[in-house]
């Protein structure tokens, strides 16, 4: 019986010695999401592009400074990411589109002028939330209607207006956030283009492309930067009435982070204007079609460009 007690003791002491060892410091081993002076938390949504950029920021910081980083991954939407930053659950927002920011998080009227939108967003984010809105990465992501090549040929579809004659028979698959967007959502689309589809199916944005490819939908609203446009050979329809404003993508930082770690400011500026639409689509393609992890793609991209050290 004594033996049993000894065994039990051995076991417990092992647990208490081993697990902290295994774990590193406090609870971690899990770079925790608790606020901590020498760690940076980068928020990303479920979209591939957001995750690639988050890992890129995270690796850039870890490689060039002594700070630790963690990714707060798979946020359901842009507003959830925004909320995470405001409540200090995260420090950097990997992707922020000026249009979404303007109408969604700031609740301001939409504008079709991208530069003006950026100006307003930068000013308001600073004033209301003490955040810095960085210059764009260099690409803009807009919503775009797309159909299969075969459909496009059959109905002679090239522009969004061409959809009007077939809209009554077409089901459309759209991003669930877009349905209720203010200013450029579905309601505004109906008013602007003057027709509506047979039925609009809200779904997660990642699913619209495969829904189209599997013939579940006739037309979908996807992102213009998506790598799957190439891999499924989809036909993007031209937005001939310029309904969708170009959404320029930037990163957003909580200012306390920049105050605590001034070196971050110039470091993050290294990504300004470095990723154009073509590059982004290619990076997305590597993840979505070539089965590479966003982390791996981000790493390769940074190494390839020597962490953008050239322009400090």
């Amino acid at each position: 019986m004594k033996k049993f007690l000894t065994k039990l003791l051995i076991l417990f002491s092992m647990m208490f010695i081993l697990i902290p060892l295994l774990a590193g410091c406090t609870l971690p081993g899990l770079t925790s999401a608790q606020r901590n002076s020498d760690s940076v938390r980068v928020a990303a949504t479920t979209s591939t592009e957001s995750q690639i950029l988050a890992y890129m920021i995270s690796e850039l910081i870890e490689h060039e400074t002594n700070l630790q980083t963690s990714i707060v991954n798979n946020m359901g939407s842009a507003s959830m990411m925004h909320e995470a930053l405001v409540r200090k659950n995260a420090d950097i927002q990997a992707t922020s589109f000026n249009g979404t920011e303007l109408t969604g998080n700031l609740q301001l009227p939409p504008t079709k002028d991208a530069h003006k939108a950026t100006r307003i967003v930068r000013r308001e984010l600073k004033k209301r939330y003490d955040q810095t809105y960085y210059p764009t990465y260099g690409f803009a992501d807009t919503y775009a209607f797309m159909v299969k090549q075969a459909t496009a040929q059959k109905y002679h579809l090239q522009t969004v207006s061409d959809l009007e004659k077939v809209a009554q028979q077409f089901s459309v698959g759209v991003d669930s956030i877009w349905l209720n967007h203010k200013g450029d959502g579905y309601k505004d689309f109906i008013r602007y283009y003057g027709f509506e589809f047979k039925r609009a199916h809200p779904m997660q944005i990642g699913l619209v492309y495969s829904a189209l490819a599997a013939n579940k939908m006739d037309v979908v609203l996807g992102y213009s930067t998506d790598g799957r446009i190439d891999s499924y050979h989809l036909q993007q329809l031209q937005d001939n009435k310029h309904f969708f404003p170009p959404y320029q993508c930037s990163l957003v930082v909580n200012n306390y982070m920049l105050r605590e770690h001034p070196q971050l400011k110039s470091l993050l500026h290294r990504l300004d204007g470095k990723i154009n639409l073509h590059t982004m689509r290619h990076l997305n393609y590597q993840v979505d079609d070539q089965l590479l992890e966003p982390q791996v793609v981000a790493h390769q991209f940074l190494v390839q460009h020597n962490y953008f050290r050239g322009d400090k």
Partner: protein
């Protein structure tokens, strides 16, 4: 990659992202272990206590039962409101789900120890504490361990959902698989290690249980 079939894609994926998968694997493992460990530290004493105070048993176990009936995504979101995003939220969720199997099994194990044996222990002049660790715990060990085992298997499943509050882990890979073009390979790439982890930990705990079992009980 469309020219490869799912299994070839899977192998390709592991070849190119091995390190990443390993990182997520250990993270996933740690989150589950922490949750269950805390639940064991709290749950086993509670189980022992209610076994001695039977009138409390129904109350305590029904509370644990109620926790168990809340869908995991809902519980995760509720806790997220308080704790914010990240791993700690998931650890607390795992902790809460692990309480029921651990408390319930400890309680059952302790109260099923033959009263005559306890009586003879008392007759030999054992203290309450001695009866606990010399008689009750060894005899109910296999049942308590069974509780911890099922808690751990449940925990590994719940941690996978934790990726929705930004905790990372293998759930990240599965979530990406859902979003990707040909996600089948990715979903399997995330799910396979998860299942593997559950099997491995269950086996390890099984050995542990056998090792802890008092020699006198081993042959029976």
């Amino acid at each position: 990659m469309a020219h490869l079939n799912t299994w070839q894609q899977l192998i390709y994926y592991y070849q190119h992202n091995g390190l990443y998968v390993w990182e997520q694997f250990s993270r996933h493992f740690l989150v589950s272990i922490y949750g269950v460990l805390f639940a064991a530290i709290i749950g086993i004493p509670i189980g022992i206590y209610v076994a001695r105070n039977h009138h409390l048993a129904d109350f305590v176990i029904s509370i644990a039962n109620v926790i168990q009936t809340i869908p995991s995504l809902a519980l995760l979101s509720i806790i997220m409101l308080g704790l914010g995003l990240g791993v700690n939220t998931v650890i607390v969720t795992v902790f809460l789900y692990s309480l029921l199997p651990i408390i319930k099994n400890t309680y059952t194990g302790m109260s099923n120890v033959d009263a005559n044996i306890i009586d003879s222990g008392r007759g030999m002049g054992m203290t309450k504490w001695q009866i606990l660790y010399m008689i009750q715990l060894p005899l109910s060990l296999s049942i308590i361990m069974a509780g911890i085992r099922s808690a751990l298997v449940i925990a590994i499943g719940i941690t996978a959902i934790g990726s929705f509050v930004g905790a990372g882990g293998l759930g990240d890979i599965i979530t990406r698989g859902i979003n990707a073009t040909n996600g089948a390979a990715l979903i399997i790439a995330g799910a396979l290690p998860t299942a593997f982890m559950a099997i491995i930990t269950d086996t390890v705990l099984n050995f542990l249980e056998k090792w802890l079992q008092p020699a006198a009980l081993k042959n029976s």
